[in-house]
Symmetry: C2
Subunit: 220 residues, 2 copies
Amino acid sequence: MESSPRGRRPATSREDVARAALALFSRQGFEATTVDEIASEVGISRRTFFRYYQSKSDAVWGAFDAELARLDRLLSEAPDEEGLMQVLRRAVVETNRFNEEQLVDLRLRMSLIRSVPTLVAHSAVRYEEWCDVVARFAARRLGGRPTDLAPQTLARAALGAAMAAFEEWTRRDDGDLTEVVDQALALLATGFDEDRLKGQPLGGDGARIGDKYLQGGEPP
Amino acid sequence: MESSPRGRRPATSREDVARAALALFSRQGFEATTVDEIASEVGISRRTFFRYYQSKSDAVWGAFDAELARLDRLLSEAPDEEGLMQVLRRAVVETNRFNEEQLVDLRLRMSLIRSVPTLVAHSAVRYEEWCDVVARFAARRLGGRPTDLAPQTLARAALGAAMAAFEEWTRRDDGDLTEVVDQALALLATGFDEDRLKGQPLGGDGARIGDKYLQGGEPP
DNA sequence: GACATTTTGGCATTGAGTGCTATAAATTGA
DNA sequence: TCAATTTATAGCACTCAATGCCAAAATGTC
């Protein structure tokens, strides 16, 4: 099947390195873990670690690239009849459907990403790639270039919604990730109109937005 | 007037350090500028630089803390009758009203922040503080805690809109910052509904949203 | 076995950031 | 004027991430 690989075989894989790194991070903390430790855990040299991941932070992001590609595909393949926000909502929810094992890992990753300052910082770089994908989609739908105000605003706002959903999901130990993501994006589509938020029913499952999104809100 | 300061006088000020740093960054680039250079430019030691700013990146953020406090005040003092998004929109626009001299600096700062990866990363940390302020406001208005999904989604989405506005303003050399910020937040309040985006008039100045926000969008 | 290819390891270097300690400069009070 | 106190600074040592460079190891090919 595979064309014969020519030179020396890799001593390990990106996956194994990420696994070892994540284990160490969760055991002794991100900052307290040095690259040397990760490297020696996997049996490679420090120098080689940096050939697998550009930075210590990058090791936390696992297969994010693949997820991005999937989001891009989902957004591109959506039928034109389906509305802008509806496609976006469905695509983002879909890319966040994981099995139990993946979810355990993801929860660990996300809790690191949102609590360790170094990783909070680094996340901005990775999330920018996510925004680019969404902005390109928005530009196709709205017209204009991906760098224009409308696509950029939509992309960054959608990112914000997704981040809020992740944070909510990470903080609470129960709850379905896809459901929270769906709620956040639905919320975004309301334009945060107070009337719609507090009372009116929303299409789709017919639930009142207020029932699901406003924990402390009393009816007017 | 001032109570007499007790010990040795500071050799410089945060403002002067920031000014020198910014000048060097703009001349030779952020990465190519070392903390030693900045320090010696201001006539202090490297060690002392880190007593003025926690990191090299922080020097780019000038008086961001003051801006945050102002936003907080504007959001707190708004009348209850004024709608959620209207208050937010007005407050964010207001905190971004600067004079010509400040705008020159700001343009430089923002162009660094959005183009230098290290600063893109660091921005996430500072922007989180901004989100906290908005989330607290949203929680007061919507009920519940600032960490709940709705306030968090609104805060992060609003941040996204503001960032998109800054990016647009920084990229184009003309254009009024407050106007672009206002447009982005108005856009957010539409919920990105395609019908509203492409045709319907919006309250306030009565302009069609499509006229202002969609450069390439043709009427349906 | 010679050769090309790919990965790895080690070394040196740069530069950010931190902890510690001594010193300089300023006010206050006797 | 001198001592005590207070605050800011300078300098040193150290850790650690990240990068460039080059030699060595491992593998397939001819």
